[in-house]
């Protein structure tokens, strides 16, 4: 396994500056005339990892999409405020959003293949992002794309650069997507079920990679998963969502050791009764 290429390792500025602030955000479905997310608040500072756990329909993905300014058409933020590096996103113009996305806040989702063009080599797609976002020359962009492919632990960056999506496995594609997402040095990365469709060993590889990036570059992470254990592995703070309500929120160890809500207790019991935990406890 390669380590991060040296020139990329920039010591993160250690600040308490809030890079993503979500204050009591409510999300409304205008077609069905009902509120879907009933108030969610959390803050991300550089190097911090916050996790949201919940089932499909709990509102976790809508919260992510609201923070990225890409809510589906008839959904709207109906209350509260979201600030990205101190700027209220409600006041951003489309041009300002374009500048912000990728360069400040970025995201990876569940199905990596659907975010890549199947008829363009993956390397060129990363290089394109770099050229648009950093105004680099073609040569510089290619060079940087190769660096990024090495950074996400792809074994042969030069080979992968010239491959098409159908030639790569799900885990490799998700790595390409992560490389693309961090190409413009964002401050915040949202990983929404980014490892859900992957095999367990590949999932662990991607989670390890995210932890690596967060430690070395000071990236702030928002990790969304239906699996409490995935979130527990990475996050400092966890929010448990159910039917649009945050039913539990706090430092991860606190939530795991003293869950207050019945639903959180069920998520924990699932692992303790049926998972590996019951055997690992014996050690």
């Amino acid at each position: 396994m390669t380590t991060l290429s040296e020139q990329r390792v920039v010591a993160p500025p250690v600040t308490d500056e809030v890079v993503l602030a979500v204050h009591d955000v409510r999300i409304y479905d205008q077609v069905n005339d009902r509120e879907i997310v009933h108030g969610i608040s959390f803050q991300l500072t550089p190097g911090k990892v916050v996790g949201i756990v919940g089932e499909s329909g709990s509102g976790k993905t809508l919260t992510c999409r609201a923070a990225l300014g890409i809510l589906p058409e008839h959904f709207a933020v109906s209350g509260g405020q979201i600030d990205i590096t101190g700027r209220n996103i409600a006041q951003l113009t489309p041009a300002e959003w374009t500048d912000l996305r990728g360069a400040t806040i970025s995201a990876v989702f569940q199905d990596p293949a659907s975010y890549l063009n199947p008829s363009i080599r993956v390397g060129s797609q990363i290089a394109e992002v770099i050229r648009v976002k950093t105004r680099a020359s073609r040569r510089q962009a290619r060079h940087r794309a190769l660096e990024l492919l090495a950074l996400v632990h792809l074994r042969d960056p030069a080979l992968v650069y010239d491959q098409y999506t159908f030639e790569l496995s799900g885990g490799m594609l998700q790595r390409v997507l992560i490389a693309t997402a961090i190409a413009a040095d964002p401050t915040v990365l949202i990983a929404d079920e980014a490892t859900t469709a992957l095999d367990v060993t590949v999932q662990a590889e991607i989670l390890d990679l995210l932890a690596d990036l967060q430690e070395r570059t000071g990236l702030a992470l928002l990790v969304v998963s239906h699996d409490l254990a995935v979130v527990a592995q990475l996050c400092d703070e966890v929010l448990v969502m159910r039917e649009g309500h945050v039913v539990e929120q706090g430092p991860t160890t606190e939530v795991l050791q003293h869950p207050r809500h019945e639903y959180t207790r069920m998520l924990i019991a699932e692992h303790e009764q049926y998972g590996l935990d019951r055997y690992l406890d014996e050690h």
């Binding site: 367990v200 590949v202 527990a232 998520l267 019991a269 049926y274 998972g275 690992l280």
Partner: protein
């Protein structure tokens, strides 16, 4: 549980897909025995051959070498007709990942449940009487009987599929990723039912990519990797003292509630070892 009269004995199974230059080995000399009343978890990643194993045992894909005994009967050279006859007796049953695709969308739950019994030759009245106690075993209400699969939740549908597998009182049920498509609450529900079945006279082969979902139910865990069985032992031993590098990586990678940061370098070392 006894191994002197196994429900399933698979010896040196080999399966190939494709022809000539595209011929690829999917199973490479797999041997596995399932004792009476035993629950075996068969674990492996995408492409490891675990579903091919299930299909070969069920007579759905031909195997090029090896022997399969189901409840003492050698099915190795069985013709399609003999396979159909074996399935009709309901000695072996299977449950797939997506119950919406394995249940007839136009048949009521009652019709789906009695069908295997009617095929076996029971009268409808007898069949209906038999399925009632099964419903409580899979924690379903009688009220669901007149409904269609589409009107049920994913968890309820999977429980119907388990009940349908149980109606013929099979010696063995093979479940291929039975809980992978379910959310937490429903997953716990189905796992609970599988756990309760252990007291019954039925053996289970529980196939999953997720060691976590099998660990709490299985007596024994078998791990497949690249078409081979690389580990096979009591669940506790496999989890606490895995032998093969892949199993060690698999266990090190399984999400648990304990912070895994400390295992990161260990995982990196195992990956390097596995891919060397």
């Amino acid at each position: 549980m006894s191994t002197d009269n196994p429900v399933l004995t698979v010896t040196d199974l080999e399966v190939h897909y494709g022809a000539r230059r595209r011929r690829r080995q999917a199973l490479n000399g797999v041997s596995l025995e399932v004792g009476r009343g035993e629950v075996v978890g068969l674990i492996g990643e995408t492409g490891s051959g675990k579903s091919t194993f299930a299909r070969a045992v069920l007579g759905l894909v031909p195997f090029s070498r090896g022997q399969v005994l189901i409840d003492g009967e050698d099915v190795t050279g069985h013709s399609q007709r003999k396979w159909r006859e074996l399935r009709r007796r309901g000695v072996i049953q299977y449950v797939f990942q997506d119950p919406l695709r394995s249940l007839d969308p136009d048949a009521t739950i009652e019709d789906s449940l009695v069908e295997p019994l009617l095929i076996r030759g029971d009268s409808r009245a007898d069949a209906v009487a038999r399925i009632r106690p099964l419903l409580s075993r899979v924690h379903l209400d009688d009220e669901l009987l007149p409904r269609l699969p589409g009107e049920l939740s994913g968890g309820q549908r999977q429980r119907v599929a388990v009940a349908r597998a149980l109606v013929t009182e099979p010696a063995l049920i093979i479940l291929d990723e039975p809980v992978s498509a379910l959310d937490s609450a429903n997953r716990v529900g189905v796992l609970e039912i599988l756990k309760e079945l252990r007291s019954a006279e039925v053996s289970l082969v529980f196939i999953s990519h997720d060691l976590g979902s099998v660990a709490g139910v299985a007596d024994r865990i078998a791990v497949m990797y690249q078409g081979q069985l690389v580990e096979n032992g009591p669940a506790r031993d496999v989890i606490t003292a895995p032998q093969h590098v892949y199993t060690r990586l698999l266990i090190g990678s399984a999400p648990t509630l304990r912070s895994a940061a400390a295992n990161r370098s260990e995982r990196a070392a195992l990956r390097a070892l596995l891919h060397a």
